[in-house]
């Protein structure tokens, strides 16, 4: 449409003028980045007395433990495929415990009591000259960004996928307000990060590397530049105007490369490997032989006196993290949110353990619930939607649980960023509705799969039965044919006998019993 074209031209002009890729939609939010390390150190915690490691993979599928209760495990030992013991100690239970989930549900977890001197951490594997997928898997490296994908299989799939990987995109955009874990990591470990990028580029044979970073992370940019001076690499440091949610993978790819991904398409399909900066560092550590057993968590929020970035061992409960940092919130008066103030969720239990995707713990006083007003069709939500959706239209279908309609309006492309919620003057919880709709869609798909499988089984069984029936029929036919043949033979024989009898004049005997009186049923 002409107006759209004009807007697009203006947009391009503006983009060119600013010399920075502009993203579609999104919001410019006030930037508080609390808890940045002032002295170049990231806080640490003392070892908790329990570590709870959920037996779940990033899809939420259950893992089968390869350890048993009472067994001793070593730091870095595998507890289940893809799950690494984050401290040496003994397994004291494998039981359901609350996990990081909006519903606060419980899942099977391996509970470890760490050894007294379990804090000693050394490389558990030999350092290898070149990073391999094998090594990533043994060290349990998973994405430390949002989704927590298993990095080894991500790389594996990427290299499997016919097309050559071309670009390594390092995601250092921490677009959510109030989270600064990646930024502090870059400030403290810039040199290692550059090394990590070098390893990853060698491993994936990427020709080009782009570090996407927000242009207001001055300290981190300076640190990276300094590190780059020491070790020149063929990479571009791409500063971006801070817009939420610039760090979402699809949005970032779109912004950096100008390529629009379809729903369900991964950047690797376009030859782009997108890796979070913290994950890259973890990959490097795995090359050196260190398993991935901790991450940096930003602790912030209005009820946190001193915001801080702290390195937390996986399996430490949120309550423990809060306690050790001197906070004592209760869920009655506070809401504790993980995963980011916007795209995260509130915890239902503080006993939930920190996992690879726990980028932040935000503690706020409980806010009064506001009754949402009806939608006034102001269309602000469509203006800010980074996926270019029409949230208010989608809302109708999502509320009506019309999955076909929701998909037509792009439910699959919704990244659950919460921008639409934030601008909605009526205060409608659009994102939550979409999240539910996606969940139920996933469930539906699962059910469909089950149903399909059942149908397949049914058809197979039908086929099998039909085949069996056909075989039976065939056999019967054969038998009958044989029997008819046989009966002829018998009849002949009888006739002969009769003739003979008649010839011998011996009346009174009839040997007709042998005449087939029934069909040969087999």
């Amino acid at each position: 449409m002409p107006a759209e074209t004009v807007m697009k031209l203006l947009h391009h002009w503006w983009t060119a003028r600013r010399d920075e890729p502009v993203m579609r939609g999104g919001l410019t939010l006030p930037r508080h980045k609390p808890g940045l390390p002032v002295n170049g150190e990231i806080a640490t915690l003392v070892m908790p007395d329990r570590l709870v490691l959920p037996l779940l993979d990033y899809h939420g599928r259950r893992l089968l433990p390869v350890v048993s209760v009472g067994q001793r495990v070593d730091y870095g030992e595998s507890l289940a495929p893809g799950l690494i013991a984050s401290a040496s100690g003994s397994v004291i239970a494998i039981e359901p415990r609350p996990v990081m989930h909006p519903s606060g549900r419980s899942e099977l977890c391996v509970v470890i009591r760490p050894d007294e001197n379990g804090t000693v951490e050394s490389a558990v594997h030999e350092a290898v000259p070149e990073l391999t997928e094998q090594r990533l898997a043994t060290c349990g490296v998973t994405g430390l960004g949002g989704a927590g994908f298993d990095t080894a299989s991500k790389v594996h799939k990427a290299t499997q996928h016919g097309e050559q990987l071309d670009t390594l995109l390092i995601n250092a955009v921490e677009c959510e307000p109030m989270i600064s874990c990646d930024e502090s990591l870059m400030m403290c470990h810039a040199t290692e990060i550059i090394d990590a990028i070098a390893s990853l580029m060698t491993m994936t044979h990427c020709k080009r590397c782009v570090i996407a970073i927000e242009n207001d992370k001055h300290a981190a940019i300076a640190a990276l530049r300094q590190a780059l001076d020491l070790r020149p690499l063929a990479l571009t440091l791409q500063p971006l105007a801070p817009v939420y949610p610039a760090g979402a993978e699809r949005q970032l790819v779109e912004r950096i490369t100008g390529q629009l991904l379809f729903a369900g398409e991964r950047p690797t399909h376009r030859g782009i490997l997108c890796i979070n900066v913290a994950t890259a560092l973890a990959a490097r550590q795995s090359q050196l032989g260190f398993p991935m057993t901790s991450r940096i968590v930003t602790l912030a929020g209005r009820s946190v006196d001193e915001p801080v970035n702290v390195r937390v061992r996986f399996g430490t409960s949120v309550a423990e993290v809060l306690r050790q940092t001197g906070n004592k919130p209760s869920l009655a008066s506070h809401q504790v949110r993980t995963g980011g103030p916007l795209s995260g969720f509130d915890l239902a239990s503080l006993e939930a353990p920190v996992t690879a995707t726990t980028n932040s713990i935000i503690v706020q006083p409980v806010q009064p619930t506001v009754e949402p007003l009806p939608c006034i069709r102001c269309d602000r939500c469509s203006d800010v939607c980074p996926a270019g959706l029409l949230p208010q239209q989608l809302l109708w279908y999502a509320r009506a649980e019309d999955l076909a309609g929701s998909r037509r309006f792009g439910l699959d492309s919704c990244i659950e960023c919460g921008c639409c919620d934030l601008v909605c003057p009526s205060g409608i919880s659009l994102t939550q509705t979409f999240r539910h709709a996606r969940d139920s869609q996933r469930e539906q798909r699962h059910r469909d799969q089950l149903a399909d499988a059942a149908e397949l089984r049914f058809h197979k069984r039908e086929d099998r039965l039909a085949q069996r029936q056909a075989a039976r029929e065939r056999r019967r036919q054969d038998a009958r044919a044989k029997l008819i043949g046989d009966s002829d033979a018998i009849g002949d024989a009888l006739a002969r006998a009769r003739r003979r009898r008649q010839r011998h004049e011996r009346p009174g005997q009839s040997g007709d019993h042998a005449t087939p009186s029934h069909d040969g049923d087999s």
């Binding site: 107006a3 759209e4 807007m7 919001l27 939010l29 006030p30 508080h32 519903s103 307000p177 109030m178 629009l260 379809f262 729903a263 369900g264 929020g301 209005r302 809401q335 949110r337 103030p341 916007l342 795209s343 969720f345 509130d346 935000i362 706020q364 806010q367 619930t369 506001v370 009754e371 007003l373 009806p374 939608c375 006034i376 069709r377 102001c378 269309d379 996926a387 270019g388 029409l390 208010q392 239209q393 998909r407 037509r408 309006f409 792009g410 699959d412 492309s413 919460g418 919620d421 934030l422 601008v423 909605c424 003057p425 009526s426 205060g427 409608i428 919880s429 659009l430 994102t431 939550q432």
Partner: protein, 394 residues
């Protein structure tokens, strides 16, 4: 699990509430209302107050009947705004009971019948306006206006077109009403007199027949004159008295010399404020005004229809308030940008057609209602393509 929506405050994002939006719109209405009250008729203030109070009462009753929470919905401001707009659209002399009847219609028929805020397909204020003008055609078109404190009767129809008295002597109809009469007079007078003196007018347009008025400094000095002269008068038909130019000049004078133009300008100012405050987008007002402008220009250049020059056309009647305040009501307007442009263009076309070819002097209300009907279609046709759908997957 609590909602993400609550966290607007946490991240320091100043979300605009419905009440805030409505508040801004009302704020933008204030200058226009004040200008209206001071230059045209102070009773408008009373009307606005009566309308708002009545609307709040009716709304409260209806919410009670529908068993909804009264306070939050009463406070969202939408009904106050609608009442205010309705009061501005009806003649200030409308009897209070009729205004209140309009409010009842607006709240009941226009809003709650469809399920309240956000559900109504038609602009409630315009529904009420339409019902009022159909039910009380006399009072609704009787612009007995109280100027300078004295009740002045509606003056007699101008028999000599260009003899346009100054505003304070008119004290009657709105400019559009006068234009309508003028048009019928032109029609009557030019019909029998065949074109006999062509070209007379084109040479000296300003001095013919009305030396005293058409060349008043006010009109002469304004850029409108230049603009009008620039307008091609049509190659073919320049009839005797050139009714087109006659009408055009009359219209120019009638509109530009009436204080209504200040009211329109005040609405425009309010609208621009809304644009900059990010309450409305430019699409609807721009396309409404542009369409009306193009249509009047086109008619002017065709030269066979009596028409109003551009600027007066834009400053006349309810066009400004319609384009910026009524057509932009998000609930009943199209949502996509293209849809908004078409919606606005439709309003422009219908306004023009109703103004020029129907029995009603002003067509904004009906134009808005007519386009409201088209909104579902527009929304269906012009929803932005969702680029990341499965359809495009390879």
């Amino acid at each position: 699990m609590s909602t993400t929506a609550l966290n607007a405050g946490v991240v320091g994002y100043g979300r605009r509430s419905v009440r805030g939006i409505m508040g801004h719109v009302m704020l933008a209405l204030v200058p226009g209302t004040i200008v209206y009250a001071t230059l045209i008729d102070y009773r408008i203030i009373l009307n606005v107050l009566v309308a708002i109070i009545a609307a709040l009462c009716v709304e409260a009753v209806l919410l009670r009947l529908r068993q909804r929470a009264i306070l939050p919905l009463l406070c969202d401001g939408s009904i106050v705004l609608a009442a205010w707009l309705l009061a501005l659209c009806v003649p200030p002399s409308l009897p209070a009971w009729q205004l209140i009847a309009g409010i009842v219609v607006m709240t009941g028929l226009g809003k709650h019948l469809y399920g309240g805020l956000g559900q109504n397909p038609f602009n409630p204020a315009m529904v009420a306006y339409a019902v009022l003008i159909v039910s009380f055609p006399v009072t609704m078109t009787d612009w007995q206006i109280n100027v300078n404190g004295s009740e002045a009767a509606y003056d007699n129809a101008p028999t000599q077109l260009p003899q346009l008295p100054e505003w304070d002597a008119i004290t009657g109809a709105t400019p559009l009403d006068r234009l309508r009469q003028a048009r019928s007079i032109i029609h009557r007078r030019t019909a029998p007199e065949a074109p006999t003196q062509p070209g007379q007018l084109a040479s000296e347009p300003d001095t013919r027949k009305a030396p005293g008025h058409a060349t008043t400094p006010l009109a002469e000095g304004s850029p409108l004159h230049a603009l009008r002269k620039d307008m091609p008068e049509g190659p073919a038909a320049i009839p005797i008295t050139n009714p087109m130019a006659e009408y055009s000049r009359f219209a120019d004078a009638a509109i530009m010399r009436s204080p209504w133009k200040w009211v329109s300008l005040a609405w425009l100012a309010g609208g621009i404020y809304l644009l900059f405050a990010g309450i409305i987008t430019w699409h609807i007002p721009a396309s409404v005004l542009l369409t009306v402008a193009v249509l009047y220009l086109a008619c002017g250049s065709v030269g066979t229809v009596p028409t109003i020059p551009l600027i007066p056309a834009l400053l006349s009647g309810a066009l400004m308030i319609g384009a910026f305040f009524i057509a932009t009501d998000p609930v009943s307007a199209a949502t996509s940008n293209t849809g908004k442009l078409i919606y606005g263009a439709g309003i422009g076309v219908f306004t023009f057609v109703i103004r020029e070819y129907s029995v009603y002097p002003e067509g904004v209300a009906f134009a808005v209602l007519l386009m409201n009907i088209c909104v579902p279609l527009l929304d269906y046709l012009f929803t932005r393509a969702v680029p990341t759908s499965d359809a495009g997957r390879k």
